[in-house]
């Protein structure tokens, strides 16, 4: 059984009962079948009602759901001939950032993603999606590679943030992030960034300074985690739910603030309930975004990208 979030408990109980009845069901057990149908309908309505009005904090939990598809799932499903490239040419390979060459709809592209991992082993390998300077330096290398060969860049962002560690600081975490943002801004190619789960602060924007920034419906994008914000401003991490609301970190909030371009609807109950449908929706949205930039040359793309980010904070729509 999949892990359920706290607010999904009533749905989980219904689904548990349905499962139990299914086990009991014998051929011709008409009453049981009716009961299953009734409960299934009820569970469906409950799910629909719950997900129609998720709070910001609930969305943060969905965005971090362990079964949510992560970056590699998107790369594997949407990109053919995926050819991973590794290393920052200076210190190390950082598996928190995955990427390389591939084909998207047949067209050669460079892809980048922050990968959280799906089980204990892979989470450790990918350092829970928290990159170190060598990761951002690899990203910068691949962004520049994309620029030199005129390949569009597709990024898939899902990170709690850059790794906070002694070694990361010693090797210049701040500089590595700054250079990655700079590389995005200078790239003479279309950049489509998609926030697929958590867009955690500087560690996320390092790969999300794009011409088009898309967000999955239940993903979040924030300057600080709700817990971090709560412990600083409320002096109580338990106020995370209040902080999440105040930060306006949901996809819809960011779209209204014109900080992102598109919200990609998720399957009912979140991307983890229908992974193929979620990935297909992202694929379609990326395709549309990429097509909208067709025919623009490098200088035009750079100029428009600059204008777009320069405007952020100059005028705030209500």
């Amino acid at each position: 059984m999949r892990p359920f979030l706290e607010f999904e408990k009533p749905i989980a109980e219904l689904e548990g009962k349905i499962e139990e009845l299914r086990q009991m069901q014998e051929p011709g057990g008409i009453n049981i079948a009716e009961e299953i149908a009734r409960l299934t309908d009820k569970a469906d309505k409950q799910l629909r009602a719950t997900y129609a009005r998720l709070t910001a904090w609930q969305k943060a939990q969905v965005a971090r759901h362990p079964d949510r598809p992560h970056a590699l799932a998107y790369l594997q499903a949407l990109v053919t001939d995926y050819t991973p490239l590794a290393g920052d040419r200076a210190y190390a390979e950082d598996a928190a950032i995955v990427g390389g060459l591939g084909r998207f709809g047949g067209r050669p592209v460079v892809v980048l993603g922050t990968e959280k991992g799906d089980d204990t082993d892979s989470r450790v390998i990918h350092n829970f999606g928290m990159a170190k300077p060598e990761g951002y330096r690899k990203a910068r290398r691949l962004i520049e590679l994309a620029g030199r060969f005129n390949l569009p860049l597709l990024t898939f962002v899902d990170t709690a943030g850059a790794f906070p560690g002694i070694e990361a600081e010693a090797r210049g975490q701040a500089e590595a992030i700054a250079r990655s943002v700079e590389a995005c801004l200078d790239a003479p190619i279309p950049i489509i960034a998609t926030i697929i789960g958590e867009g955690g602060s500087g560690g996320a924007i390092a790969l999300a300074t794009g011409d088009r920034v898309l967000m999955l419906e239940h993903s979040i994008y924030s300057v600080i985690s709700p817990e971090g914000c709560a412990s600083i401003l409320w002096r109580d991490a338990a106020q995370a739910s209040t902080a999440a609301e105040a930060l306006r970190l949901t996809a819809e909030d960011l779209r209204l603030l014109r900080l992102i371009d598109t919200v990609i609807p998720e399957p009912l109950g979140g991307a983890h309930r229908d992974v193929p449908a979620a990935i297909a929706a992202v694929g379609e949205a990326v395709r549309t975004a990429l097509a909208s930039l067709d025919g623009m040359d490098g200088p035009t793309l750079i100029a428009r990208r600059r204008d777009k980010f320069l405007a952020m904070g100059r005028e705030i729509p209500v």
Binding site: E169, A178, G202, W234, A243, A246, L257
Partner: protein, 293 residues
């Protein structure tokens, strides 16, 4: 150029005196590093550096400008207004109220002041972040200030110097503050594309989103002695790695050792250093004989 405003020389004295104006106890200040009591006039005369141990105390942005420009003469520019309270944020207090209080306390509009003038004989635009204004945090107004400073440098064919002093992004502006990272990075690109020098002076403290954007993109990066500079906060790191942090971690000297900044420069040597570096980057020749004299 309606956003160019007053020449501020006559006001500098009163700014410097402001903090210690009427309360007698404030005539003496204790050095937070060596605990020595220092007479305020001695401290001001020494650019707020402890005469006993050399500890660099945090100045205000206006003090910074007065110390940096030749003869303390500079022209401050009025910054374009940024939208206040873009996400209508409230924690235990409303952000709008916090902003108002910070404005009353500091006499500044937000956490940055921009001015132009001569530094070591070189024309420069200097942006000084104001730690005294909400811990120097970067929201839309600071972003706007950096962009305005960069535009002014290009317009005046002057070098850009930014003194950073910031706890990071201003979380009360949510993702709007995060977007100031690319926005300020674009500002640094404009200066570099105009082939003008862009220097950063990292002062205590420079952390978070400020360190991970324009602060680390200087052609030459200078830091003040002992300044705390880093991306992640010390407490977060300790909680993550469950290790004690090494001595001097994230301090200016540590960054110098690790190859992240070019030099650590004492406050008293800053103006000369900036003038010398910018002069050379701009191809100013000084004949050896001239130099000896």
């Amino acid at each position: 150029m309606s956003w160019l405003t007053e020449i501020v020389r006559p006001k500098i004295r009163s700014w410097l005196g402001q903090e210690t104006r009427d309360v007698p106890e404030n005539l003496w200040r204790q050095c937070p590093a060596c605990q020595q009591m220092i007479f305020h006039k001695d401290l001001d005369a020494n650019l707020k550096v402890c005469p006993n141990c050399g500890h660099h105390m945090r100045p205000t942005a206006m003090e910074r400008l007065a110390w940096t420009f030749d003869g303390g003469v500079f022209t401050r520019i009025e910054l374009p207004k940024a939208p206040a309270d873009p996400i209508k944020f409230r924690d235990q207090k409303r952000y709008a109220d916090r902003l108002r209080e910070a404005r009353e306390k500091t006499g500044l509009e937000d956490a940055i002041v921009v001015a132009h003038g001569l530094v070591g004989g070189q024309p420069m635009v200097v942006a000084a972040m104001a730690f005294e204004f909400m811990a120097g945090s970067m929201g839309a107004a600071v972003g706007e200030g950096i962009v305005a400073a960069a535009r002014l440098a290009v317009l005046q064919d002057a070098a850009l110097v930014i003194f950073t002093a910031s706890g990071g992004a201003r979380m009360q502006e949510g993702a709007v503050s995060l977007m100031q990272m690319p926005r300020t990075t674009i500002a640094t690109r404009m200066v570099k594309e105009a082939k003008l020098p862009y220097l950063t002076v990292l002062t205590d403290p420079t952390t978070g989103g400020v360190s991970a954007s324009f602060a680390m993109l200087g052609d030459v990066q200078i830091a003040e002695p002992g300044a705390l500079i880093g991306f992640a906060g010390a407490r977060v790191i300790e909680q993550t790695v469950r290790e004690t942090l090494p001595e001097g971690f994230q301090r200016a000297e540590y960054l110098h050792q690790h190859g992240i900044i070019d030099m650590v420069v004492k406050r008293g040597d800053m103006r000369e250093t900036l003038g010398r570096v910018v002069g050379m980057l701009r191809g100013v020749r000084v004949e050896p004989a001239e130099q000896a004299a």
